[in-house]
Each structure stands twice: as C-alpha cells, then as structure tokens.
Amino acid sequence: MDKKTNRLYRIFIYVALLTLAISIIVPVVWVFLASIKQDSEFYGSPWTMPLGMHLQNFADAFEKANMGEYFLNSVIATGLGLIILLVVALPAAYVLARFKFKGKKIINLGFMSGLFINVNYIVVPIFLMLLSWDKGVSQIIGQRIFLNNIFVLAVIYAATALPFTIYLLTSYFRTLPKAYEEAAYMDGSGYFRTMVKIMIPMAKPSIITVILFNFLSFWNEYIIALTLMPGTSKTLPVGLINLMQSQKAAASYGSMYAGLVIVMLPTLILYIMVQKKLTQGMTLGGLKD
C-alpha cells in the first residue's frame, strides 16, 4: 500500500474506534451528570452541564423511593445466590470431572441440555409452582412463604445458574493433575477432606470466573424478581422500573437518574477492578443467557 492510502486507512480506523467509544461513553457519563441535576434543569437542551452537585436526588431515591431497602434485597439475593450456587455446584462438578460411576453420562447430558433452557420460558411455570406450594402451606401453617421471599429467589437464581456453572467448573477440574489427589489418598485423607482441602482451593481461578459472571447476572436480573416478588419488597432493578414509571409521571427526573446510578455503579466498579479477568474468563466459558 502506498503512503497516502495507508494514512487514510489509519484515519478511518481511529474514526471508527472513536465513534463506537463515544457512543458508549457519552450516554453513561450523561446519566451520571443527569443524576446531580435539579429537576428544573431537565427542560430545554439535554446537553447542558449540571449547575451544581444536587445530591438531594440520591437522598430522595434512597428514602422516598425505597431504593435503600431494594439495595439491601439485591445484596441478599445476589450474595446468598452465589453462596448456594458454589456450595451446590462445586461438589457436583468435582465428582463429575473426577469419578467414574453408573449414570454419569445421563447426568452430564442432563446438565448440558440445561444450558439451553432459559429462565424466560420457565418463569411462569415456576411462579405457578410456588403459588400452589403457597396454597398448600398456608392451609397448614396459615402463612404464605414461597412467593415474595428473597431467600427463595436466591435459591432459584442458584438453581437456574447451575448448568453453566457446573459446565465451567467441570472443564476446569478436568485440567488439574491427578497426582495431588493420589498423594492425599496415600496420606489417608478421605474423599470429602481431599475435595475441600486440596481440590477446591486449586480450582480458585475458575471459581472467581463463576463468581464474576453470576454476580453480574444475579445483580442485573429482573424478570424472575419481578414475577416471583409481586409484593412491596423488590430488588433493585425491579424497583428501578417502578421508579422510572412513577418519576416520569411526577417529572422528578433527577431521582430517577440517581436510581440508575445506584443500580449500575456497583457493576461498573467491579468491572473496572476485574476487567481483565472478565474478558479472559469469557473466552474460557463462552456462553451467555
């Protein structure tokens, strides 16, 4: 290529890269700026800079719009979901990767086909199932315990994340050398002890990947939360939808954008901290909901 076309080519590359980068940065930064604007600043051009730091928006979102309670709910659902997921998936993945036993093929096949089941299809049957359990239970103890329960939500998050997590962990356990386990058995260590003390710590890189991906999907999830928690207690994304609808009517845009910032800030911070790990981990698993 001669020099002139080469230079044009370089310019084209940078224009393309910058255009996409700007189209992503501008809306995100705009939300941050909008979250500190006063409501009166939303009339007229959307491109004006905020006149001052109107942090009252955040106080409004937390107090009046209940975002504080929703935040706590999201923390519980996400944290508990992750713990249940790891406690259940790690032993299963380890056993599937390391032991020979009858029925292994069928179980593997079952979990693999689970990769193709998406929660969006089955959220209504799950809702109906919990509803009928509630009917049964309320006749016995006079109380409904399955719907509107943040702990049940966490269990369902964990259950729906199982196929992908087991798939990812199993393929990692398979790559670990067998010598460690053999040495542990020689020393008289039992199966359980060997798994917990030796093998699970060695799987740390894949566990971190699992935590990262599932943190994002649990924290951002809203359709299960919307369906299974129809009461006043909500998670953050569902609360945000409510806030959007009610604030638009009341034209208090400021606290709506403050709510947006509250939802996305934790994921952005986590992402900036671990971005390398996340984009690497993706090529290792390579699946998405």
Partner: protein, 297 residues
C-alpha cells in the same frame, strides 16, 4: 469392597443437591411448559381442561402472535448480521493493527455488557425521548427550527428499529471480545507470508482471518439466535411494554402478557412450546447451512 461403597456414597452425596435443585426448578417447569400448552386453563379458576392442540390452532390464527413472530425474526436477523459485521471488524482492527490505546477501547466496548437491561433501557429511553432526548437534539441541529422530534418509541413503524439499535449497542462489545480471543490465536507467520506474497490487509482479512475464525462465528450464530429471543423480551418489557398498540411485541413478551397479565396460562405456554422448538430448529438449520470444511492452522 467397602471402599467402593464409600466412594459411591460420596459421589451421590455430592450430586444430590445439584440434581435436586436442577430437577425442581428447571426440569419440572420445562416439562410443565409443554404439558400446560395442551390445557385450557383460565388462570384464577383452577379449572384445567385438556384440549389437545387446540391452543396451537388458535395461535396460528392470532394476528398478534403472527406480528410478534415477524418482529422476533426481524430482530434476530438484523441484530445478528449488524452485530456480527461490527464485532468482527472491530476485533480485527484491535488484534491486527497497532492501535494506540487498544486496551482502553477494549475496556470501553465491553461496558454495555455489565449493565443491567433495565439500566440500558432507561438510558435509551432518555436517548430516544421525543422532546428533549439526546438523539433528537442531535438530529434537530440539521433540521429547521420548528421541527418536531421523532417519536422513536411511540411510532409503530420505528419502534422495532429503536429496539434493534439498543440491542446492537449492547451486544457488539461482547462478541468482539470473543472474536478477539480466537483471532489472537492465529499464528503471525501466516500474515507475514501473505504480505510477502503481496496480499493487502483486506485480502488478508478475507483469506486468513475470516476462514480461521469461522468455527467461532458459527458458534456465536447460535448465541445470536437464543440471546436475541431472550434479550428482545427484556428490552421490550421495560422500554415499550409491547406498544405502541402491540407494534413491538416479540415472542416472549407476548407469552408473558398472555400467561401473567391475562392469566391464560395454557395459551401462554403454547407460545412457549413453539418458541422452544423454533429456537432449536433455527439453530440447527443455521448450524447446518454454515458448515464449511474446517480450516486448521
């Protein structure tokens, strides 16, 4: 032999919780989708009547369902093609060219993927806002004074493209990172010998890069199909609720409306069964027609 027994007990103890949770919350509900699709079930009354394939017969005459079909297929096709082109080109630029700030661009491009669909939907509602949205204010610069903003989400013929735009914005970075991973594993000497033979960058892209990541592209085509069906539902639910007047209804949003809002569970689940089969069949077809002789390096 005792050891053998112990081992078996350990194996099943480890598997039991996972199998239990998986069966209760994934296998049963999935089977229920198909079972309930054969029922006439009016929701609040516990009256379940077996009607065979009647729900499906009604479905094929339901114009709203047919519209949701058309919308979904349009979304799958456009999102897959446009995202694929952008993602491959940007991945090629970032892996093949010595770009300043390569890391910066990679980090920025992936950001939409860590945001909640709810967050993205709210951002784009602000962008698409007819009176003082970001997009209209930019278009307004080139238009006469008293020009009225485009109602991106309020116009029946535009709304679906507005949603497609949002989905592409969200997806490019994710697929780009995937293509980058497989591109960076292509050995450098292939490009070196090609450029010695006088192949320019465009030729190198079509003769080396594209054939060698073809396997990866095929895998992602399945992802495009499945994730478009799912994500279109999530975006539609928050951004338009299927409106205006059903113009942006997609498969799963129509399912959700029928089953959850109208409480016609059997009918809703018939949609679910069809979408299930549709997504599998489409993935299989696409997988088959994109089959090429694998190239190895």
């Amino acid at each position: 032999m005792n050891n053998r027994k112990q081992e078996r007990r350990f194996v099943w103890l480890c598997l039991a919780p996972a199998i239990l949770l998986f069966t209760i919350f994934m296998v049963f509900p999935t089977l229920n989708v198909f079972r309930m699709s054969l029922l006439k079930w009016g929701g609040l009354s516990a009256n379940q009547e077996f009607v065979g394939f009647n729900n499906f017969l009604i479905l094929f005459k339901d114009m709203n369902f047919i519209r949701s079909c058309q919308n979904t297929i349009l979304i799958i096709v456009l999102v897959a093609i446009i995202t694929l082109i952008f993602a491959v080109v940007f991945a090629a630029i970032l892996t093949r060219e010595k770009v300043k700030g390569e890391n910066f661009f990679r980090i920025i491009f992936y950001i939409p993927n860590v945001l909640s669909v709810v967050v993205i939907s709210s951002i784009f509602s602000a962008i698409y806002d007819p009176s003082n949205g970001l997009l209209n204010s930019i278009i307004g610069l080139f238009k006469p004074e008293n020009w009225e903003g485009i109602k991106f989400l309020g116009d029946q013929s535009i709304v679906i493209y507005a949603i497609i735009g949002t989905m592409i914005w969200q997806a490019i970075g994710y697929y780009m990172v995937m293509y980058m991973a497989s591109m960076s594993s292509i050995p450098e000497h292939l490009y070196e010998s090609a450029s010695l033979d006088g192949a320019n960058k465009i030729q190198q892209f079509f003769k080396i890069t594209l054939p060698l990541i073809w396997g990866n592209i095929r895998t992602t085509l399945t992802f495009y199909i499945i994730s478009s069906i799912n994500l279109s539902f999530l975006f539609v639910k928050v951004m338009t609720g299927g409106g205006p007047d059903g113009a942006s209804e997609v498969f799963l949003s129509y399912l959700y409306r029928q089953a959850y809002d109208n409480a016609t569970y059997g009918y809703g689940m018939a949609i679910g069964a069809i979408v299930f089969i549709f997504s599998f069949a489409l993935s299989a077809i696409v997988n088959h027609i994109t089959l090429r002789d694998d190239m190895e390096f």
